[in-house]
Subunit: 319 residues, 4 copies
């Protein structure tokens, strides 16, 4: 659905750390087929074949973990309005100067529930470089530059913590996200929320870890054109001796097809997402409710319930 009153337009990018930028670029660029827009000092800025913004992923050498999840606002004014709102909630707000992240104008960051979110409006949309640029105006990179995975665009991210109900409520109330689907675990409590400000089945998902668990990042997801690309991804990973974290399979929630794989260098987990999931354009959507026993029969019921026992990716230590 398209949340009527949200200040947020879309998921923008993920900023992560890697202990070995060369190794991570081998994985993201050579193996997976991401495109590097620019590399400045210790940071590489990457995006998919049909991402328009300067980057949808940044990798900075030094340590590991996630720095922030960035959302683009619908209007320029929304950046300051959100900053004021966060301050009124008592949260610390950090101002980010234009250019501090390449290609991006002024932004604000806030830490909530142990996650760090960034909000920006101004962003460059550089065309693919000469020679790699599509002749077709409605494409960025030429298909001649694509491998057989060819991540198309950032789709969503997934985070986890011990206070997810409050976190989900904040995303709804403060940021205007709408809950598309919701999963209730065996203990009767909600375990997962799939939230969006766009017609995508989710721009962000959260699931609840045991109380006291450190907040963590679970994965960033990129959209592929099709099933076939997802299976080609599995074949290409096999050729490189890299085992997927899971999949290919079809999600019960969202109905999309998936493959998870982690960067061997940084541990950053990427999901490839494809297939006949849905778009939801209804402004008055009632969340789809799942319980552990109802979800039986869905094609990947093994992926729900407590889910795969994967480590979350910690946030890097901003104090």
């Amino acid at each position: 659905m398209t949340a009527p009153n949200s200040p947020i337009a879309k998921l923008g990018h993920i900023a992560a750390y890697t202990p070995d930028l060369e190794e991570s670029l081998w994985f993201f660029e050579d193996v997976l087929g991401f495109k590097v827009t620019e590399r400045v000092d210790d940071t590489a800025y990457l995006r998919g074949m049909r991402d328009w913004e300067h980057h949808t992923l940044s990798l900075t050498e030094g340590g590991s973990g996630i720095d922030h999840v960035a959302f683009r606002t619908r209007t320029p004014e929304a950046v300051d309005e959100l900053a004021a709102q966060f301050e009124s909630e008592g949260a610390d707000v950090t101002r980010v100067d234009a250019g501090e992240e390449r290609g991006q104008g002024e932004a604000v960051r806030v830490q909530r529930f142990g996650h760090q979110y960034e909000f920006y409006y101004d962003v460059e949309k550089p065309q693919a470089p000469e020679g790699k640029r599509s002749k077709l105006h409605n494409r960025n990179y030429s298909e001649a530059e694509a491998n057989r995975i060819a991540p198309r665009r950032i789709d969503h991210c997934h985070v986890q913590d011990g206070v997810s109900p409050e976190h989900a409520a904040w995303l709804q109330d403060t940021l205007g996200f709408q809950v598309n689907e919701r999963f209730r675990a065996e203990d009767g409590e909600y375990w997962g929320w799939w939230l969006s400000v766009t017609p995508l089945p989710h721009d962000i998902a959260i699931h609840r870890e045991p109380a006291g668990t450190d907040p963590a990042f679970h994965h960033v997801s990129y959209h592929l054109d099709s099933f076939q690309d997802l299976w080609e991804a599995a074949d290409i990973l096999a050729e490189h001796g890299i085992a997927p974290d899971g999949g290919p399979g079809r999600h019960a929630i969202t109905r999309a097809d998936f493959l998870y794989v982690s960067d061997p260098a940084s541990g950053l987990r990427v999901e490839f997402f494809a297939g006949p999931g849905y778009l939801n354009f209804e402004p008055d959507w009632e969340p789809i409710e799942w319980t552990a026993d109802e979800i039986g029969g869905a094609t990947d019921h093994q992926w729900i319930g407590r889910g795969p026992e994967w480590d979350g990716i910690p946030y890097a230590g901003w104090e």
Copy 2:
């Protein structure tokens, strides 16, 4: 893109006439695989497998042509606000009582540029009937009820008239649509506009016919899951001896794959739409510009320029 200030959430439905409802239902239901929600008096209400609203197409026996194109608003209040706006523009506004169209609450209609648009917010979202309903909460009809075309959801519509620049400007200024792509013909004037309030490449397209041409409806488009379904549609049409109006092919504009076919009874043209088109989430999108010579090399350049010489479908005579 998601237009920040649009009162419109999405394309809702098309209301059309047919001289022979039985024949039209044979085509839409038996051949194409649409689902009939309800049939009341001389009107059948239809939708795709994964449409949630009561209907996305209505067919009323008696004559032929289009009655109206309906958009759902983002908020309940927007219906009256739009009515007031249209009246301030000097347009005639018709009030539609709740239930006059099955499954729909109060609505307003306005005639602009010879087209009739309807705006509503309240709408029923009936589940598929028992026995045809998916066990999966995030699907409406069961896949076991699908043929090999299986229209999924309404996607967009396309209209034409002799005053399209004014019409496109009105859609932008009054209704908050954003132009995603635009085509400039050999005469240097814009010929076509692809506009949306959602991330779809268009919710509505308009192209310009010669001055004085009657306004007409070109087609309504339904989304299929894939390429394969598009080609299966062509095969199934072949089995029924029905020649497509065009396709399968890939559009230069929107980059989606298409097949056009018209209901033999009513002449209503349907497009099936699938494949690796794009979604556009950027709130500050600059329209993609095409000219006749630049579009060369795009896979279906024959579909652009003046386009296929197909008749538009007239609006039924509302006075």
Copy 3:
């Protein structure tokens, strides 16, 4: 590869028993989309959408298990030549009169290694019945009669026993099958053989169970047009509350994509087979050799080694 000297043209059909023919037909016809050519007394004759022969599967009410696996010969004379050959090997040969199996001429059956094989040449190729027949001469059933699984044609079968090396050698030496792929288990002994007389990666596979294990039938496989149909099969099974035996996944051996599911009534296991497997036209093919550790990195390594612990389907007690 196409074995130069094989008397066998292709896998013909599987004859199985079911305790409840109605239930089995619900599964095969209504759920999976098989077509029933004819039903005579307690036997239903079925085939896929693009099978040309009278049947590729027969289901006879009374008990359960497999009666025989039938191969079509390349020439009429080969049937008697094979009978003479089997007799010279000391095997019991049973003559089957024309018409004893509907649509089939004279045939011979032989029991070897506890499996029963049938060989026939004469067979009827009835067109799909009027109204379900494709208008396209190179198709049998109309696509308008297809569900979203739409089994296309019989592909291969898989059997198991405790004497597989001898069994595989007999298929090679007596029947002219060629080994396309071969798997060597941890104990250093061959565990599985994928054999064909056609360019398919296998017409029949055998794997070795522990010595003394009863010979059994593992599955019969039908080809689908694509990946998508395989996943639709999984979705349709989910709607019917039927859990697949395994998959969807991609085989390491054969490189095809698969889904296994068993008839709830008879236990007969069917595999759906699709995707970018290979055809092998080389007449001097050297078997591809796999060992347990080499197969690592293949996308479904869990499906090989000892394989899933599924029961084989016993042969019905012919004495």
Copy 4:
């Protein structure tokens, strides 16, 4: 079908000339994704990702046109037996020494009906070079080396002349090809024959040009994994400013999906072939018969009848 008595196993390769080998390699290797096995003097030897033989296409600098079409025999002896047979028919037979074509043993060539055919059995099957080789034993090149077209294997060829009925009869009677499909033109005479010795719908097709027309080569076809790859091919060609000769579309005859494109340097026409065509395993196949009016309703009826007015590719002047 698999012709029971044919000495031929499969289509082997096409040997063609090009005025500019560098330009042709740009097209075949860089644009289309063919793999070069070896380059010796003025000849480059190419193949698809999953071709096993040394080459399935050779390009020799100097002039243009086709040198020969090569078939692999089922047995080593068949090469000499065919030579004797051709001599008994009064045809000139040329002996080709082992190694004269790289990777190939002794072969014979014969000119019949103005076409030059070659027959060989001995052939090398070099693995893809280290670093480009698949880790999966049943694949040759690694998917990591594939572009988004990725021709998989040679599929068939198509030739034309003014004496096609005699030519088709010779293929049937002398070489043991079986006719799978046949098209009768408006004049009541057969116009086209689709013949095979394998289960492919055709290994070679012939169509009839007006009497006196020079024999010519129409195209060589390579199999792709899917629809998607066919459309990606169209997109990639568009990026390079190369217009396809025709397609993508679906053939009425063979039911496969196609895209035709010619090497800008040599004029050699390649067809990409994919999708839900059929395999035919029946040894007693009766040719499918099409007439001009019956073929109506098939999805690409425009591709049949007299067919597209494309030039054939002449045979280079062997005297």
